[in-house]
């Protein structure tokens, strides 16, 4: 059984100061990412993915609201070094949907890096994993 320890006065001061310190820390912390709520989801075809041309349909939204007229750069990368990234051709489909056409040049684990600028000028970057692309 644990013996309750007598609380020292200094410990009490520390405990009382803690909420204040936390408040200050939050106030002084850098402002949260302005695009933190931007959601970027991915629908890939063909599915399951394999080597060859691929089409990623990206859906951008914030608080359930579609984000239109964003300017997107999409790059497919493998998770290992030495491969040239696959640059996607991006077209806006409307209602927050975007089409990114690119090519899986090798089988393995891929990652889609979406670099975007929203219509209101905010920037964001999202990394979307695409594991297990089959080699044929």
């Amino acid at each position: 059984m644990r013996v309750p320890r007598k609380r020292s006065p200094s410990r009490g001061v520390l405990l009382r100061a803690a909420p204040l310190a936390l408040l200050l820390a939050v106030a002084c912390a850098p402002s949260a990412d302005a695009s933190a709520k931007v959601q970027c989801s991915l629908q890939l075809s063909p599915s399951p993915a394999h080597v060859g041309p691929a089409l990623a349909e990206l859906t951008l939204s914030e608080d359930g609201r579609p984000l239109e007229q964003a300017s997107l750069t999409v790059q497919g990368n493998m998770n290992h070094a030495g491969m040239v990234p696959s640059q996607a051709r991006v077209t806006e489909l409307g209602a927050g949907h975007y089409k990114a056409e690119f090519e899986f040049t090798m089988g393995g684990d891929w990652i889609l890096i979406v670099d975007g600028k929203l219509a209101d000028g905010r920037s964001f970057e999202r990394t979307l994993p695409m594991p297990g692309v089959a080699s044929k």
Binding site: N79, A81, M83, G108, D109, P131, K136
Partner: protein, 475 residues
């Protein structure tokens, strides 16, 4: 005191007499010219690996280590020799540390062989697959740091080049590979060594330390265990050490007494190193093609496991222990049956296994040169991005389309390099057969030629498989 140099015309010192390069190499501190830049590169890789992007293709640590360092290493071994051991930055740090800490112990007698370093080499190959170092900049950076730490831990306790000779897995890889290199360190004129009284090349002098790898130049044959450190070049008072032409793979077929090594035919550990070097090349290539996942899934099902390490352990056991034992055992048995020899299978195996070194090198270089050539320029955009991230875009914005040779162009190069390895292995197998059974050379040669062709066929099959690199094997 040194003995007087005999007044006679000496043989050439090879590269050491070339204009500029020769003068540079003869300079006592020449090694630092390679070590200091490589140390700085290692430092940059560690920093970028630890603090740069987590994505492997965007981090200098993963790009430079797994694409460029490995590729450059084997290509330099093919066209020159063991220059990466010569330029090893870890040795520079060790030498600096040894100014303050003097090692007191000799490397234990029981460990004066290659068994520990073979274990280290297998461990690195295993860790590469299990921890996916190829896709993890942080792990790659820590691996570099650990390597520096390991050499300090060993060489500040034990004298001479204990780490290089008995522990370092990269060193053992380089030693086995450099048997096919076109340059070697040797005596320029054997007669000068005969009259030499000081033997400074091994004992050392005020000019330089002697060979830390225990290789006595007049009795040194081939490149095994030579780090190209050039200590002997600087120590020899007669300027009688040459960096000269070496017939690639030539000495593998011979079995003279070699300084610091003895006879190859009496060294099962060296034969095992060459065997692991060859079968490890196949295994490493197998780890990056599509069928490996089917095999791993099947093994996981049979073993009723879901984690990767038991499957990998079994795969390594089969590829590096069972398969070599079976195949070399069969070759030994066939040799014995065909030649009527009464020697043990082990004796035959240790004698003949060296014919696998050129083939092993052929597979390694075919594999690594593929990554090197197809990803040759991929470090450029990564460096550009690193500088941009640092706020100093002096090389401009990253040009991500920079790559290298198309894969279709790399395949013929791969097959060409592999063919060279096959031819050299067959020549070595013939030489060993001649030595082993002079009256039944063909009979002693055929089982080993068949083994070489079988392994080469497996390599060709692997190179034609679609590549696939995954971090999660059960997907």
């Amino acid at each position: 005191m040194t003995s007087a140099a005999p007044a006679r015309r000496r043989r050439s010192r090879g590269v050491l007499e070339w204009p500029l390069v020769g003068a540079l190499l003869r300079w006592r501190h020449s090694r630092l010219l390679l070590q200091v830049p490589l140390f700085l590169v290692a430092l940059v890789l560690v920093l970028h690996g630890l603090f740069g992007p987590r994505l492997a293709p965007m981090n200098l640590a993963t790009v430079m280590v797994w694409v460029h360092y490995r590729g450059a290493l084997v290509l330099v071994l093919l066209v020159a020799g063991n220059l990466f051991c010569m330029g090893c930055p870890m040795l520079a740090l060790r030498d600096l540390a040894r100014r303050f800490v003097h090692p007191r112990f000799d490397w234990p007698q029981a460990l004066r062989n290659k068994w520990l370093s073979i274990g280290m080499l297998v461990g690195v190959l295993f860790g590469y697959e299990l921890f996916d170092w190829w896709g993890d900049p942080r792990a790659t950076a820590w691996l570099i740091v650990a390597y520096f730490g390991a050499i300090l831990a060993v060489d500040l306790v034990f004298k001479h080049a204990s780490f290089c000779k008995f522990v370092c897995p990269i060193g053992q890889f380089n030693f086995a590979a450099s048997t096919i290199s076109p340059l070697e360190i040797r005596a320029a004129d054997a007669r000068v060594c005969e009259t030499c009284t000081t033997k400074d090349c091994i004992k050392g002098s005020e000019l330089s330390r002697g060979c830390e790898l225990a290789l006595f130049v007049p009795e040194k044959r081939g490149n095994m265990d030579c780090t190209f450190c050039l200590d002997c070049v600087h120590a020899c008072p007669h300027e009688n050490v040459a960096l000269a032409r070496h017939e690639p793979a030539d000495d593998l077929g011979l079995d003279p007494h070699r300084s610091g090594l003895g006879r190859f035919s009496k060294r099962p550990d060296l034969a095992a190193l060459v065997t692991v070097f060859c079968f490890g090349a196949l295994l490493n290539a197998f780890g990056m093609v599509s069928p490996v996942y089917a095999v791993q899934r099947w093994m996981a099902g049979v073993m009723h496991v879901e984690s990767e390490w038991p499957v990998l352990t079994a795969l390594f056991g089969v590829a590096l222990v069972v398969e070599p034992l079976v195949l070399l055992g069969l070759a030994c048995w066939a040799t014995r049956a065909a030649t009527g020899s009464h020697e043990s299978l082990l004796t035959l195996g240790v004698r003949h296994a060296y014919c696998l070194a050129p083939l092993g090198f052929g597979i390694w270089i075919a594999h690594y040169s593929f990554h090197f050539l197809t990803g040759l320029l991929t470090f450029v955009p990564v460096l550009q991005k690193a500088l941009c991230d640092l706020g100093a875009p002096i090389l401009g914005q990253p040009i991500w389309r920079l790559g290298g040779l198309p894969k279709s162009a790399a395949l013929p190069i791969e097959l060409g390099l592999l063919s060279l390895g096959v031819i050299a292995s067959c020549v070595v197998a013939w030489r060993i057969a001649e030595r082993s059974a002079s009256r039944r050379t063909l009979a002693a040669f055929l089982p080993w030629a068949a083994l070489v062709l079988l392994l080469a066929g497996a390599a060709v099959w692997l190179f034609e498989q679609p590549m696939e690199m995954r971090g999660t094997f059960l997907q």
